[in-house]
């Protein structure tokens, strides 16, 4: 089930054209067709205080009217619509509207999912998750109690985790810590549903690695005492050790992805495991070497590119002649 906002189709007014025997319901329906939803609401609310409340169609119409009137300012109208459809279901004793009412309910409940997506795009992550959880709760309660949301959870929490991850770059201090925890929690939910999910493993590994590495490289050079340095090293190590199995899973799924290879190379390097660092750095360099050589062809004075070529030919893909060639050029350019 892919519940994306843009595929939400408009609900056909299935009660349209039907003749209502009841006075207020019929009047409300007329106003509804005339698109005067406020008047329709007044009339339908009146209808449910009369004997018309025993008619399923009255409740169906009420749900449709309230759903039409729903807006960000009147978000509670959605719940009124849902409650109306529930009443419609209860008063449909012969169950002739069962399918239609279920469709109304589904198309109303899915709005919570669509809200979750909208909030995600607006970076309102807390509101987004609240809406997503509401969607799931209402779906289980009213549509299908046996529904398994594993696929939806994977899709949604990967997106949420990705959103939080993007936010981290602009944060520091406690705000960073809070959002980091939220991102890890979101990705953890994906991994609970699918421990071999590539994206969640990669993103979580990158987050742990970056956090550990940042802890080391962002230390105040002059005002970090040796005790603090050693504490930071220990904390960073624990983060690298958390990153490692996740990145290894990502590697098992996609062994030629540059980001995964960079990640493993970096994690092992930071864990002072140079042997393994070189294993992945060599794989990475094999992929990147043609690109570096092409850059050299186009711009032979690019010193950073020359440094990469010197590093590669002197360490991972050793070639003395090539090393000397690029080292000489680099030295001539000032190193």
């Amino acid at each position: 089930m892919r519940l994306i906002k843009n595929i939400l189709f408009s609900v056909l007014l299935s009660v349209a054209g039907q003749v209502y025997a009841q006075e207020y319901t019929a009047k409300a329906h007329a106003q509804f067709q005339a698109k005067d939803y406020d008047s329709a609401r007044v009339l339908i609310d009146y209808a449910i205080q009369t004997n018309e409340k025993y008619n399923s169609q009255t409740w169906q119409l009420r749900g449709l009217i309230y759903r039409k009137l729903e807006s960000p300012e009147n978000i509670s109208y959605r719940e009124v619509a849902i409650e109306s459809f529930i009443q419609a279901r209860q008063t449909d004793t012969t169950q002739i509207y069962k399918e239609k009412i279920n469709e109304y309910l589904y198309n109303t409940i899915i709005r919570y999912y669509n809200d979750a997506v909208t909030y995600l795009n607006e970076f309102k992550y807390t509101d987004s998750e609240k809406s997503y959880l509401m969607f799931k709760a209402r779906y289980l309660e009213l549509i299908d109690a046996t529904k398994n949301f594993a696929n939806e959870d994977i899709e949604y929490y990967n997106a949420l985790g990705g959103g939080y991850t993007k936010q981290l770059g602009q944060l520091s201090g406690k705000d960073y810590d809070i959002v980091f925890a939220l991102a890890i929690s979101a990705l953890g939910k994906v991994l609970d549903a699918d421990s071999m999910n590539y994206l969640a493993n990669l993103n979580a590994a990158v987050m742990y690695y970056n956090r550990g590495a940042d802890l080391i490289v962002n230390q105040d050079p002059e005002n970090t005492s040796i005790e603090v340095l050693m504490e930071n090293i220990a904390t960073a190590e624990s983060l690298f050790l958390k990153a490692l199995p996740l990145m290894q899973k990502a590697y098992a799924i996609n062994p030629t992805n540059i980001e995964v290879l960079e990640g493993l190379s970096g994690i092992y390097y930071s864990l002072n495991d140079i042997e393994n660092h070189l294993v992945y750095q060599t794989q990475l360099d094999k992929i990147n070497l043609p690109k570096f050589l092409e850059i050299y062809q186009n711009n032979p004075n690019d010193r950073e590119n020359l440094r990469q070529l010197v590093r590669i030919y002197s360490s991972t893909l050793k070639d003395d002649a090539q090393y000397l060639k690029f080292k000489t050029i680099l030295d001539q350019l000032g190193g």
């Binding site: 490289v217 050079p221 005790e227 340095l229 090293i233």
Partner: protein
């Protein structure tokens, strides 16, 4: 996403070296002029880190100068000499060369305290740590703060 592989090892080593500078006392004749941190290594990583972050800072009243040596013959009076693993085989010559000086020799190769280093970078599991030789420190007239020895992975008495 991964911004780039970060050189955490060199950052940690440079910060350790700076802390060594603040937690060791040099003899009187080393407390004047610049505070020289020398690097003898093929790789530029630790040198670049020291040079970028610590050059021009102070140890007491002494300004830090970071020097990269292409060979041991260039080394004269340095307060600290970091010898990269790939130049470790020069330690015997260096200890002879620096015999009459007060240079804190820092290495990063297993077993190098026994070869004359005062401090040697080692791994504690996968964590960067260091070990200290008190007898070697004494040879070079260096006084090591208790804090530094108490946090060391190993101390040779």
């Amino acid at each position: 996403m991964l911004t780039q592989v970060k050189d955490t090892r060199s950052v940690a080593k440079a910060l350790f070296i700076y802390n060594f500078a603040t937690l060791i006392d040099w003899p009187e004749d080393y407390r004047k002029g610049n505070f020289v941190i020398g690097v003898l290594a093929t790789s530029n990583d630790v040198y670049n880190e020291l040079n970028t972050k610590y050059k021009g800072k102070s140890i007491g009243s002494q300004e830090i100068v970071v020097q990269k040596y292409a060979s041991r013959t260039e080394i004269d009076k340095a307060h600290i000499l970091f010898i990269g693993e790939d130049k470790s085989d020069q330690i015997t010559s260096l200890t002879t060369q620096l015999k009459a000086k007060s240079t804190l020799i820092v290495t990063e190769k297993e077993g190098y305290l026994s070869k004359g280093a005062v401090i040697n970078f080692v791994l504690d599991g996968s964590k960067q740590a260091y070990e200290i030789s008190k007898p070697n420190a004494k040879k070079y007239n260096l006084v090591i703060a208790t804090k530094l020895t108490s946090l060391a992975y190993k101390v040779v008495e």
